[in-house]
Amino acid sequence: MEVKRTHAVPVSQPHKTTVTPIQNSSNNNDKNTTNFIKTALREYGMMLSLLIIMVFFQYMTDGTLLQPLNITNLILQNSYIVIMALGMLMVIVAGHIDLSVGSVVGFIGALAAVLIVNFQLNFILASIICLITGAVIGAAQGYFIAFFKIPAFIVTLAGMLIFKGLTLALLEGQSIGPFPDGFQMLSSGFLPDPIGNTDFHVFSLVIGIIAAIALLLSKIIQRIRHTKHGIHTEPFYFFIAKNGSFAGIVFYFSYLLASYKGMPNVLAVMSVLIIAYTFITNRTVLGRRVYAVGGNEKAARLSGIKTARVSFTTFVNMGMLAALAGLIFAARLNTATPKAGSGFELDVIAACFIGGASASGGVGKVMGAVIGAFIMGVMNNGMSIMGIGIDYQQVIKGLVLLAAVFIDVLNKNKAL
């Protein structure tokens, strides 16, 4: 589209320029507001969809969805997908993909079982070994992808087969379990309650309140800083409404959790990771480089960024997070099975794309991927409660993935 603009004019030379007749100042304000609503919709559209989906299932399941027990289950069931989505998002933003994560989950679970159950190794030590192994797996795959430019699709497809096979070999086709109690706590434990009431977990509620306040404060500080630097900020009423409702949601969910068994350990781990990865992607030099490499690898390289190293890092990170997910999943099942983790890669990748990541790289947000993971999770959970068979569940999930990306593409085309 050709857009008119005023001419570049060397100073002191006479000129005449024609100003575009249509844009007059009177409707500028109106336009700003509609523009703003449009961008806000695009930015928070996913969050809105999640809310709508939750309300829908809350209604369809006669309120079962938001019962404290179910909410706790929902978090436990989806934690490993969310955790891997954090790593997958960075891989996808850097312009790659990782198909091996499901197999790595199974393999690490098997490794943990062999170390802890068969060799009676201390579970903390075993977990550390497993995390390191995950990082090494990521490094091995990343090495071929980043330094030899073999497409990630091929390398990780190979990895998927390799680790599926190694899982079977390690377990000799059997399931290994159970794990000691300490290890199970990783996934089925809850934060201890020092305030000591058995029916209602005040401590979890307190954490929720602190989190809500911290969220509000950080947003306010950010807004003040932006205003100081003259960075354009959103309208005040919107700012208040948005962050007020976020804080409200955090408070409400911590209340729900407190009225059951309190805050699951996994939720604590997950929250810390989400905050850390949001910070890494938004505010650190490393995060910026990941986006630059995915956005335009050649331009990034010519700007002095060591692009191969950046891609390599994202895979090491992915491997480590897949290992963590493997540990959590094994702890949750309390056994390592040859089938563990199969198909997880699809859920994780779908979560990133539903959350607005671009398949060609350079675009995507941590919060988007997390919301994407929960959209998948809530649908799984809600449809199971409603008694929809696994067959149609898959069909519906596939349609939702397609619809989410389709709407995204439509939105972007309009934005041009």
């Binding site: 001419h7 570049a8 932006h226």
Partner: protein, 529 residues
């Protein structure tokens, strides 16, 4: 003479913008009609209206072609009547052969089975017409851009073209390829094929055009017959920009200091063919506050030289010395080169210079993220200030620092790339085709920025295919050919003819390299003064 095409009172709007308003265009049968105008003047939009990219009904006004009112709904409609447009970005499939490309979507076939023998023999004829001797089975990817452009024309001829539209056909061609293309256009004219030529290059227009129409801000401002009125470049430029253009280059009083940068015996081999020497022992030096130019044809190795110096971003087995302020410096990777104060502004800003989907702020800080961060954490406020500062200094026209660069005009994108490299605080700035694809007014601004930088004591190395630009801006010009420097001229004695002669005589007499090498050894003696 008969009128083949008449477009009357064309008006086309996009949401919020009037792109074309009351445009009138009349093309006579068998003439070359040039359309000129600044970027954004509406040339391409007009051609899209004509060729049916914007279907009938999405604009107002009428199109009369060969005496009939036409209402094209798709490109196919317009092609059927013989109007064929060749876009700036070529639409050829690189891994298919010439014949396959020429007959793409138009294969000679019966019952869905392609008669490749017929296609080959027809291709052979078409290639002869456009002056190519390639085999029809050659893959497009093995041809240079110049030849690809001719293939596009052959493709048009195959479709029985009556009116050929070329959108900046020579923008990415060197002078000899441009020349071949223009000669071909004149040849087609002899055969009675009319063409519309959109171009920025006035010298080409004055060579081939019979009629010139000038667009400005979406309206026709002037149209005249060159066969009656002699062509006046001043008249064209005046009408294009709507002002008198006294100077196309800013005046500057160069204050040239001592030598700060030197390259000695620089040799580079092709990245894929290890035995092919691309840069053959180049020596040069540059002084503080000096603008040096590197002239030469495309493919002479200018970009390869610049990129190999800039952190070995091109080639392999690179040898030679890079010396800054009397000390050898290590430029073995890009971040080292940047840390030594070298910056390279690429000729291909869209694919090598910018993160198109990111905003201005992100692009500006990219080459110097440490400059906006503490302990590897980016200070967004500082980043914003830096970007705003460059926005003001370089007059980047945008809705805000957070505008995506993909939505900026070519000139403003170029300023963003410049801002990125200025923020890396370079002492030596290598500019590769800094004004390519930028309209006249923005060019002047880019030139002003360059001359300001030189007067701040930076050393500028400017690579350009446009000789007037080098002559207007540079204090000293090296002429490059086939991987070595063929000549060196000071501003005082450089002329277009001399530069051209240096290029031509060099390629005819390879012996001359010897004399040039002695000449280049001579620069070495300046060093340290």
């Amino acid at each position: 003479m008969k009128t083949i095409l008449e477009m009357r009172r064309i008006r086309k709007t996009f949401p919020g913008v009037v792109a074309l308003d009351n445009v009138n265009l009349q093309v006579k049968s068998g003439e070359i009609h040039a359309i000129v105008g600044e970027n954004g003047a509406g040339k391409s939009t007009l051609m899209k209206v004509l060729s049916g990219v914007y279907p009938h009904g999405s604009y107002s006004g009428e199109i009369e072609f060969e005496g009939k009112i036409r209402e094209f709904r798709t490109i196919r409609d317009s092609e059927k009547t013989g109007i064929i447009i060749i876009h700036q970005e070529l639409a050829l499939v690189p891994l298919l052969s010439i014949a396959e490309n020429i007959f793409l979507g138009n294969e000679p076939s019966s019952w869905g089975i392609v008669d490749w023998e017929l296609a080959q023999s027809k291709t052979h004829e078409l290639l002869k017409k456009v002056g190519l001797s390639e085999s029809p089975e050659t893959l497009i990817t093995n041809l240079g851009v110049g030849k690809q452009q001719l293939i596009e024309i052959a493709k048009a001829l195959c479709k029985d073209v009556k009116l050929l539209i070329l959108d900046e056909p020579t923008a990415s061609l060197n002078e000899s390829d441009s020349d071949a293309l223009l000669t071909l256009l004149l040849g087609l004219k002899e055969q009675g094929i009319s063409s519309i030529l959109i171009s920025h290059k006035l010298n080409e227009i004055s060579r081939v055009a019979d009629t010139i129409t000038i667009l400005r801000d979406g309206t026709t401002v002037d149209s005249f017959d060159c066969r009656i009125d002699p062509i006046s470049e001043d008249r064209i430029i005046e009408n294009m920009v709507g002002r008198e253009m006294a100077d196309r280059y800013p005046r500057r009083n160069p204050e040239i200091g001592e030598i700060i940068f030197e390259i000695k015996d620089w040799r580079v081999f092709h990245p894929e063919h290890a035995t092919r020497e691309v840069i053959k022992g180049i020596n040069f030096h540059a002084k503080k506050g000096e603008i040096i130019g590197i002239a030469g044809l495309m493919g002479s190795g200018r970009t390869e030289l610049a990129m190999s110096i800039f952190g070995r971003s091109y080639g392999q087995h690179i040898s030679g010395r890079a010396i800054k302020n009397g000390h050898d410096i290590d430029v073995s990777n890009i971040s080292k080169a940047i840390n030594h104060g070298i910056a390279y502004v690429t000729e291909d800003r869209k694919s090598l210079g910018l993160l198109l989907e990111e905003d201005i702020q992100t692009n500006v800080s990219l080459a110097n993220l440490n400059g906006v961060s503490r302990h590897l954490i980016i200070d967004e406020g500082r980043e914003f200030e830096v970007a705003s500062d460059y926005r003001n200094k370089l007059k980047i026209r945008c809705s805000g620092i957070n505008q995506k660069v993909v939505n900026l005009s070519g000139g403003n994108q170029q300023k963003v790339v410049l801002a990125k490299w200025l923020f890396s605080k370079p002492d030596i700035l290598i500019l590769d085709e800094p004004s390519r694809g930028i309209d006249v007014g923005a060019k002047y601004e880019i030139y002003s920025i360059i001359s300001d930088l030189a007067s701040q004591g930076k050393c500028i190395i400017m690579i350009s295919s446009e000789m007037p630009e080098l002559l207007g801006m540079c204090d000293r010009i090296y002429v490059m050919n086939e991987g070595s420097f063929a000549a060196e001229f000071s501003k005082a004695d450089a002329t277009q003819e001399k530069i051209m002669r240096a290029i031509v005589s060099h390629s005819e007499m390879p012996d001359q390299t010897a004399t040039i090498t002695t000449a280049t050894v001579h620069y070495g003696e300046h060093y340290g003064s």
